[in-house]
């Protein structure tokens, strides 16, 4: 099975997810306002903003983890984990684009985070364990 076509695709979907996370990080105000009631206090705004910020930074950190694993070659040539990462990150890119353009609730971000940031990162850590400790190279 030829794997080498997956490498550009995985790199581009990882990068697009990262770009969208950074974009939302810089322009998160409208999303936070969308999940507050109409008569919100400054305190509520601050807590929601801090939660959203934490989620975004965690998403960026997990994406950076996957990037490091991918670029150092540990998980560059695996078949199924790469395909899983590819689908998760492209789904996340579409969802985050909707989040920016349609001004989604900041609650919905946690669904995107769970399915499309945590899942590939967990698989990535398992691949790390496989390659580095159990020495099961592809």
């Amino acid at each position: 099975m030829r794997i080498t076509g997956l490498i550009p695709a995985r790199f581009l979907t990882l990068t697009s997810h990262l770009v969208l996370l950074i974009t939302i990080l810089i322009s998160r105000e409208e999303n936070v306002l969308a999940c507050l009631p109409a008569d919100y206090t400054q305190q509520q705004y601050k807590t929601r903003d801090a939660e959203f910020l934490g989620g975004l930074v965690a998403g960026i950190a997990l994406t950076a983890l996957e990037f490091i694993g991918f670029l150092t070659g540990v998980s560059m040539f695996t078949g199924l984990p790469a395909l899983l990462s590819l689908t998760c990150h492209s789904g996340a890119s579409v969802a985050l684009s909707y989040m920016v353009v349609d001004v989604w609730d900041c609650h919905l971000y946690w669904w995107v985070f769970g399915l499309a940031s945590v899942l590939p990162a967990v698989v990535e850590v398992l691949v790390f364990v496989n390659v580095l400790m159990l020495k099961k190279n592809v």
């Binding site: 581009l12 990068t15 990262l18 322009s27």
Partner: protein, 193 residues
């Protein structure tokens, strides 16, 4: 008498050559013959893998940068001042042209181990892409949108990585080529005698 003159000549020549060699080693370190063997044996490939990866992923990222930047530029064009309209169009025209040249000769230089191409690509990166990208990121008059910041930062990261790995690649390739040249001189002289 003649032998003494030739002895003085020999001493003078040795003095000049050792002085020149010490000077050259201090100004251009790593060029003298006995230091060249540290890099390669002369019979191995010295293309740099990190540099090749940076160039490959830069080539993949460049169309995304182009499309994103053009869309953002067309969206904000009406809202920037007229000076910056000219400046932004100039920058967004020159960056793709320079990028294509830089990536192409960087690929050629790294895969065929040619120092002029590697050095040309490194200089293009240092002197043209780095200032242009820093301008796009840091100058507030360009009214950078959040997505602008994101894609320009990733592009800048690739440029910085190219500078770091390219410098090492140029040093290694130049030392390797010098070693090959010296070896070919010695071998040809041996055959000629």
């Amino acid at each position: 008498m003649a032998s003494k003159v030739s002895e003085i000549h020999g001493n003078a020549r040795r003095l000049v050559s050792t002085t020149v060699e010490t000077l050259t080693e201090t100004i251009f370190p790593g060029v003298s013959f006995n230091q060249l063997g540290e890099v390669s044996n002369g019979n191995e490939v010295v293309s740099s893998l990190p540099l090749q990866m940076v160039l490959y992923f830069s080539t993949l990222f460049f169309p995304c940068w182009m499309i994103t930047s053009s869309v953002m530029l067309s969206l904000k064009f009406a809202y920037v001042s007229s000076l910056y309209q000219w400046v932004l169009v100039a920058v967004h025209t020159s960056i793709p042209v320079i990028e294509v040249i830089r990536l192409y000769i960087g690929h050629i230089g790294n895969l065929e181990e040619k120092v002029p191409e590697l050095a040309g690509s490194w200089l293009l990166t240092l002197l043209l892409q780095l200032p242009l990208l820093s301008f796009l990121l840091l100058v507030p008059g360009t009214q950078s949108l959040p997505m602008d910041y994101a894609v320009n930062s990733i592009f800048l990261v690739f440029v910085l990585l190219h500078l770091a790995f390219g410098y090492r690649a140029i040093k290694n390739t130049a030392a390797h080529q010098t070693l090959l040249y010296h070896t070919s001189l010695v071998l040809s002289r041996g055959h000629g005698d």
